[in-house]
């Protein structure tokens, strides 16, 4: 059996007297879309914050294994190393774009790490020497590639803050992808999207998966989650209450009781969203 991409073991996160995550174990396989679902306040975002270095866990380990076998203990790395070396990228529940920068600039900032070694050569670039110019051209090419994929190429020079909400969501994903991650962590990317936009988002995530990037997804839109997930992890009160395939999780009485609710004639979700 191969080592999973991500192995969370005994993860615990306490804030004073509040235990947000309690000795949690779960894994995410390479090339898969793994979703994390659960009631509000179950600890989902806290888990993301531990994985991406925003929090230092109280206890436990978060192992990440690259395809070449290199292993990282994420709980020991500062956030910027998790992004750069371990190649884990994320988006946020509340969109955190640089609103005053242009769409293109947002994607170039994400490639700051790739451009950094070229600061010295940037000085040489004044005389037309060094690799800075080439690195910049590559960064712009990658940004253009992602703008094309999310359909925002025409708005490259508009301020990011002027985009409609759904476009900002996609731009945030593109920004994360510009760091060339192996694991993309998305915190409620479908929140605030209408059914059509949610569908487009699901399609985008499938193409990202197709490129070989693994995805960890927090999402309440069950239409999206059930359609694209390979594996689902269910949290409640900071602990694992269920995991499995979408069909297994959907049928689990514990998940129905804590999270999904009974399917009720009077309160159906949008057609095509639940059943699709």
């Amino acid at each position: 059996m191969t080592t999973p991409l991500l192995a969370v073991r005994g993860l615990t996160m306490r804030f004073g007297g509040l235990t947000a995550v309690n000795s949690l174990d779960f894994g995410a396989e390479r090339g898969q879309i793994t979703s994390v679902i659960g009631p509000n306040g179950a600890g989902k975002t806290t888990v993301f914050n531990c994985i991406t270095g925003f929090y230092r866990p109280t206890a436990g380990s978060i192992g990440l294994t690259h395809p070449d076998g290199t292993q990282y203990e994420l709980q020991r790395l500062p956030g910027h190393r998790i992004a750069r070396r371990a190649r884990v990228a994320r988006t946020f529940q509340n969109i955190r774009l640089f609103a005053g920068m242009t769409v293109l600039e947002n994607l170039l900032v994400a490639q700051h790490n790739a451009l950094m070694p070229h600061v010295a050569s940037g000085l040489l670039a004044v005389f037309g020497l060094g690799g800075h110019h080439r690195a910049e051209i590559e960064a712009i090419a990658l940004a253009r590639h992602w703008l094309q994929r999310i359909g925002l190429l025409a708005r490259a020079d508009d301020p990011a803050g002027a985009l409609p909400y759904g476009d900002q969501r996609r731009l945030e994903i593109a920004r994360a992808m510009c760091t060339r991650p192996l694991l993309l962590c998305l915190d409620e990317p479908a929140a605030g999207l209408n059914p059509r936009e949610s569908d487009e988002l699901a399609a985008l995530l499938k193409t990202i998966q197709g490129d070989g990037c693994s995805i960890l997804l927090i999402e309440h839109d069950m239409g999206v989650v059930m359609r694209i997930s390979d594996h689902i992890v269910v949290l409640d009160h900071g602990t694992l209450i269920s995991e499995g395939t979408p069909d297994q999780v959907r049928a689990d009485p514990a998940v129905i009781a804590a999270y999904l609710g009974e399917g009720d004639e009077d309160d159906l979700d949008a057609p095509g969203v639940v059943a699709a």
Binding site: F15, L18, G38, P39, N40, G41, A42, K44, T45, Q93, N94, P164, Y165, G166, D167, E188, A191, G192, L193, N194, P195, R196, E197, S198, D199, E200, A203, H220, M222, G223, A258, Y259, L260, G261, D264, D267, L268, D269, A270, P271, G272, V273, A276
Partner: protein
């Protein structure tokens, strides 16, 4: 009886025109929903009713009183409350204090009764009364924003995407609570919701907003049955 009337309302953010002459009516005891794509101006319309931004042209009348151009705090004393987009809770105040802030405009003797109603709706808020708003999870903050709006015992409640970030079970709870409050207390609701299907099933009437203009209006059932509505807002693009 008409509780809220908008006539030819326009609103701008700087040079950008967000509302292009909106006409809309909400009667006493009605649930009215506003559907439309992201960027159509739904949230702007909700905020313009509250006076931020102020309407540049047109008239907004609340229960017979012209509130166009009135400052927000005065409008809030006239029986209107909003759970706004982005939640905007007071991050450094406790859950309890946030709810108190919502109750500023009403008599304190009603406080406990209304608070108990909010706690029945969102038991999680009761558990977390002493916790700072900013340390709540995203979904819990959404519950707090709705709870805070209810604390002012509004006659007209504006809800901007109440289901955002909430677990499916909680979303059902909120939709049934809106229906229940409407039936039992006659609460009037103007609702913006991405889940247009649920919103139209809940609402008595709906309006469709496209690029800052109302393009269609009708009963919830009428709008649900229209193929162009189904194509644009209800079905995915697959």
């Amino acid at each position: 009886m008409t509780l809220l009337t908008l006539q030819g309302v326009t609103a701008y953010y700087g040079a950008i025109q967000a509302l292009r002459g909106v006409d809309l009516e909400v009667s006493q005891g009605e649930i009215v929903t506003l559907i439309g794509a992201n960027g159509a101006g739904k949230s702007t319309l909700m905020m313009t009713i509250c006076g931020s931004p102020r309407a540049r042209d047109g008239r907004i009348v609340l229960d017979g009183t012209d509130i166009t151009g009135r400052p927000t705090h005065e409008i809030m004393h006239m029986g209107l409350a909003q759970a706004p987009e982005g939640r905007r809770i007071f991050a450094r105040m406790s859950v309890h204090e946030n709810l108190l802030m919502g109750a500023q405009v009403v008599k304190m003797r009603d406080y406990e009764r209304t608070r108990d109603l909010v706690f029945t709706l969102f038991p999680r808020l009761k558990e977390r009364q002493a916790q700072r708003g900013g340390t709540l999870s995203g979904g819990e903050q959404q519950m707090l924003a709705i709870g805070r709006a209810l604390m002012s015992q509004p006659r007209l409640l504006l809800l901007d995407e109440p289901s955002l970030g909430l677990a499916p079970l909680v979303v059902r709870g909120i939709f049934s609570a809106i229906r229940q409050l409407n039936r039992e207390t006659g609460l009037t609701v103007l609702l913006v919701e991405q889940n247009a299907f649920q919103a139209l099933r809940l609402a008595h009437r709906g309006y469709v907003l496209v690029n800052g203009r109302i393009t269609m209006a009708g009963s919830g059932a009428e709008l649900l049955a229209r193929p162009e509505i189904r194509a644009a807002y209800l079905e995915g693009a697959h």
